[in-house]
């Protein structure tokens, strides 16, 4: 009879896991998740720090030139500065884009406010040379998405044109750009317009070429893109630009405090990028924590298995088995596991990429482009994961190899090094589980608190109105209310509810007689006098109708009241809101309205009375007082030439909360996985630990030790590990909070009750795991354990 021994050792290795297949599956899935997370982190790193966007066809050094404001937002620079940069020695090419909105009459005669990207003549030549032949001359090029939406039923766009009221001739549509040009930087233009039409958009007559040229050279609206054959030092170039004479004769543009900034690659939205970098950092932290946990868990699991098979290996070695055979079998088995890990990690990678593509921060930064998996990044991640898997497999085996072949039964104690390393591993596990539970508690608590303190009712609806042509007066808007049964059921604001562009960073705010003379950036909303009534928000200090002065929010009141802490003290004080709004008297205090979402830290805000005629405004109404169709009926009959957009107020707020919610739920999910992994790891570690000293506990039972004493002796190191883990987890939590704060996500201050609850919860989980194992292994110890 012939016996095939080729796979015998491998099958023996598989059999070794009999009854523990769940453990093996958990291990494989954990490594697969580590692999996928690592691959996504590497890919995201490429996107953030290395990759150029898909619409750029060249591979030389590309930089973005902008002006950076105090709050981190950026805006365009002067054309003059771009022309100056083209003379710098390292710079080989320069081009620019000017994003703006323009009121244009479409080929079908409909007037629309379109998102336009004006581009320099050199733009396509420098950055997308393959399109030179298609993008030549003057006119409009439709972006692919706009074409699909509005012109897909046209056989050709040739002969079609747009009309602008300041351009005396029609502007021809010259073609449709590929879809990769649908999004450039943070903009998603409807149309691309050649630069010559800018001459018609200045405050001067297009015929006055000298003035027009000067204006266009001086106005800071151009987003520059410069290219070089070698790496450029951005700071040196900025200094060189600052030293250059950028004055344009006869034109003075008021300084706004912004400074030139040059970023590597295309980066016209550094705030979104920094948010993404923070998110990337967060993933790295989670990856490191999770990776540590998986490594610790696998060392524990493989060590426990090695102990189980110790006798068998010793016997094999005594019988003369080659050591290489033992190692080879383990190696092959680990390699097969690594291959399975690789396959599963691809599925995880796909899921993680989908999650990222659905993340608002990411899609805002990538402007609709998707995060695609890279084979190189995945390969690198798989190699690292495989390395970890092999190392953790072999550490216990190498240790076992050093064991003596002949052992007599004797009392053996653990070495100090082993005790310390075991304790460090245990503490790391405890710190991670504590951190994860603390985080979960804070997230859940934050959510509950936010829901409880949410000041807005859910039945408020908004209609965003864009009126073309002459603006509408406030009196007309007020009259609108008379058309509805309840007077005052419609409220108005001049800017969108969630608008953040109205932040007046250059304006300082002072209160007379206030010692602190507090200066702060503040957001200003111009709203109708019944704004707070319609939103059903209670006001402090304003009992009558709001006729003059401003209302501030609670955050502004807290900052303005300084050390006093008496918010009402701010009522009656004067506030300097700069050139546009002037000095105003504070007449009331509103609670913090979540303009930037409930998850965002409230910012100081001021509400002024809406007095000037407006082209763009928002109508607010409660469903109980006026229906959408009633309001639309009035609008269509009384306000001509409008575009409207309807949204529930709650939806607008939820939209703002998307990023924070994504991060919160992502963190919650990862935290729960961490807790689950630690609990599984602990079960095996405690079981292995108790198994190895079962005789010790059986002895204690035999000599009459009470159960509590046995429990204490077996769990003292766990309790000590929890105590040591508390400050470590606090450090992790504080750092995590700092990251969230930098993302402008509001996380409640670290709460002592929640921390204590987390410690108790961790203690309860550990005690429960301990008790189950102890009851099973020790308190029911048999006489055989004593022998």
């Amino acid at each position: 009879m012939r016996i095939d021994t080729r796979y015998f050792n491998f099958y023996r290795e598989v059999q070794r896991w009999r009854g523990q297949y769940v453990k093996l599956v958990v291990l494989i899935f954990s490594y697969a998740l580590v692999c996928a997370l690592l691959a996504v982190t590497l890919r995201l790193g490429d996107v953030l720090f290395k990759d150029l966007p898909g619409w750029i066809e060249v591979d030389n050094y590309v930089y973005s030139v902008v002006r950076r404001h105090n709050d981190g937002a950026v805006s365009g620079i002067e054309k003059n500065a771009i022309n100056t940069l083209s003379t710098a020695s390292q710079i080989t090419k320069t081009s620019w884009i000017w994003p703006r909105s323009m009121e244009l009459t479409k080929p079908n005669g409909q007037v629309g406010n379109l998102s336009v990207l004006v581009f320099s003549q050199t733009f396509f030549e420098n950055l997308a040379p393959s399109l030179i032949s298609e993008v030549q001359g003057e006119g409009i090029w439709l972006s692919h998405h706009f074409w699909q939406k509005n012109f897909s039923d046209h056989v050709s766009v040739d002969g079609l044109f747009f009309v602008h009221d300041r351009v005396e001739f029609p502007i021809p549509i010259r073609g449709v750009l590929p879809s990769k040009f649908d999004a450039v930087g943070p903009w998603k233009p409807d149309i691309w317009l050649s630069e010559n039409y800018l001459a018609y958009s200045t405050p001067f007559s297009s015929k006055n070429t000298q003035l027009v040229d000067r204006f266009l050279n001086a106005v800071p609206e151009y987003y520059g893109i410069i290219q070089a054959d070698s790496a450029v030092e951005p700071l040196a170039l900025v200094n060189w630009l600052n030293d250059s004479d950028l004055m344009v004769g006869g034109i003075v543009i008021q300084e706004d405090g912004a400074e030139y900034a040059i970023y590597k690659n295309i980066n016209f939205d550094p705030l979104a990028k920094s948010a993404l970098v923070e998110q990337w950092t967060l993933i790295i932290i989670l990856l490191v924590l999770f990776g540590m946990l998986v490594v610790i868990n696998s060392i524990i699991i493989f060590s426990a298995q090695s102990l189980d098979s110790q006798a068998e290996y010793r016997l094999m070695r005594i019988l003369g088995a080659k050591e290489s055979l033992i190692f080879k079998t383990r190696f092959v088995f680990a390699l097969v596991n690594a291959l399975i890990v690789g396959v599963i990690s691809l599925i995880f990678l796909e899921i993680l990429s989908e999650i990222f593509n659905a993340t608002p921060v990411f899609s805002s930064y990538m402007n609709g482009n998707e995060l695609s998996a890279s084979f190189t990044d995945w390969g690198a991640a798989w190699l690292v994961t495989t390395g970890l898997l092999l190392t953790t497999t072999f550490i216990p085996l190498v240790k076992q190899r050093n064991d003596s072949l002949f052992k007599r039964q004797a009392v053996t104690g653990k070495s100090i090094v082993r005790k310390v390393s075991e304790f460090i591993m245990l503490t790391a596990q405890m710190a991670i589980v504590l951190f994860a539970i603390e985080l979960c508690f804070h997230i859940v608590w934050d959510q509950v608190k936010r829901e409880q303190t949410h000041v807005l009712k859910s039945n408020v609806n908004t209609i965003k109105v864009n009126k073309f042509g002459s603006p509408i007066s406030i009196a007309s808007l007020r009259n609108a209310n008379k058309n509805f049964g309840t007077n005052g059921s419609l409220a108005f604001s001049a800017t969108e509810f969630t608008n953040t562009h109205s932040v007046l960073t250059e304006n300082s705010v002072r209160i007379e007689n206030n010692v602190a003379k507090y200066e702060m950036p503040i957001q200003v909303w111009a709203v109708s006098d019944n704004f707070f009534q319609v939103l059903d928000v209670p006001l402090l200090g304003l009992s009558d109708r709001w006729r003059n002065g401003v209302v501030i929010n609670a955050t502004a009141a807290k900052l303005l009241s300084g050390d006093n802490n008496d918010l009402l003290n701010t009522i009656g004080q004067e506030i300097d809101l700069g050139v546009i709004y002037g000095v105003q008297r504070i007449v009331g205090i509103a609670p913090d309205i979540p303009h930037q979402g409930r998850s965002a830290a409230p910012r100081p805000s001021v509400y002024t009375l809406l007095v000037n005629p407006v082209n763009q405004f928002v109508i607010y109404h409660q469903n109980s007082n006026a229906t959408h169709s009633d309001v639309m009926f009035w609008l269509n009959n009384h306000v001509a030439n409008i575009e409207t957009e309807r949204a529930a107020l709650q939806t607008l707020i939820d939209e703002q909360d998307k990023v924070a919610y994504f991060l919160m739920y992502f963190t919650l999910a990862v935290s729960l996985i961490l807790v689950g992994s630690v609990v599984v790891g602990l079960v095996y570690q405690i079981r292995a630990d108790l198994n190895s000293s079962k005789w010790e506990f059986a002895t204690l039972v035999a000599i009459g030790a009470p159960d509590s004493w046995i429990f204490w002796r077996s769990s003292a190191h766990l309790i000590l590990a929890i105590i040591v883990a508390v400050p470590i987890s606090l450090i992790l939590l504080v750092n995590y909070q700092l990251i969230l704060t930098s993302l402008q996500i509001n996380m409640p201050q670290i709460n002592v009750t929640l921390l204590l609850s987390s410690v108790l919860m961790t203690g309860a989980i550990v005690s429960w795991v301990m008790y189950l194992q102890l009851r099973k292994l020790v308190l029911r110890a048999s006489f055989a354990d004593l022998r």
């Binding site: 004493w709 006489f783 022998r787």
Partner: protein
């Protein structure tokens, strides 16, 4: 008034449930042991010696028969009562010594005293040292088990067994891991303890140990086949 015998076992039977069904390990055991007796339990492997010892030591239960430990019906005792009896009236000696490796010799010896609430903490040290002195290891009081030889470890284990001055000493193969000289010292100690009034029950394969005992019980397939 006559005192009840230390151990009175009548028609005791014990079986274990296995996958293949119930396996009987002890059948109809009848046994009476008085104070000061030294008894050797001998027999082939698997005959039920250790099971009988663990029942006598209140570590295992039995299915049939009765077991009277002095005035106590063992099957009526609670777990807590059994623990207290094990702690105060029974001393255990094992083949593998079973000393806790992270405790010194005297701490190991003092361990049973810690579980006895009626003993003052201040007396632990002196009682433990007294026990160590009896086994001739006073100079090794602060040594850890790993620093002691096999024979010394077993003497520390005996000191731990006798520190509470128990009426019953149970030894499971006490000389199984020892050389002949150490074995002789251990058997001398056990004999001496029996002479001082404690009942000593020893499970052994070693005929020289069995010969030093006042009675020898032979077990075969769970039955008491011979007593002399």
């Amino acid at each position: 008034m006559l005192m009840a015998p230390l151990i009175a076992i009548k028609n005791l039977s014990k079986s274990f449930a296995t996958q293949a069904g119930n396996v009987d390990v002890l059948h109809d055991i009848n046994l009476a042991i008085e104070d000061g007796e030294s008894i050797a339990i001998v027999g082939p492997s698997g005959s039920g010696k250790s099971t009988l010892l663990s029942i006598i030591g209140l570590l295992e239960t039995f299915q049939a028969g009765s077991f009277q430990l002095r005035d106590h019906a063992v099957d009526e005792l609670t777990d807590r009562q059994k623990r207290i009896i094990r702690n105060q009236h029974i001393g255990w000696i094992f083949q593998n010594f079973n000393l806790l490796p992270d405790l010194t010799a005297w701490e190991n010896v003092a361990l049973p005293l810690k579980f006895n609430q009626s003993i003052n903490r201040q007396h632990y040290f002196s009682l433990a040292l007294e026990a160590l002195e009896r086994v001739g290891l006073i100079d090794k009081a602060k040594s850890f088990p790993t620093q002691l030889s096999g024979g010394q470890q077993q003497r520390v284990a005996i000191a731990r067994a006798l520190v509470t001055k128990p009426g019953l000493l149970l030894a499971d193969e006490p000389t199984g891991n020892l050389d002949s000289e150490s074995s002789k010292t251990i058997v001398d100690l056990l004999t001496q303890l029996a002479q001082e009034g404690s009942a000593v029950i020893v499970v052994t394969h070693d005929d020289s140990v069995a010969r030093r005992c006042s009675r020898r019980l032979t077990l075969n397939s769970g039955r008491l086949v011979d007593e002399n």
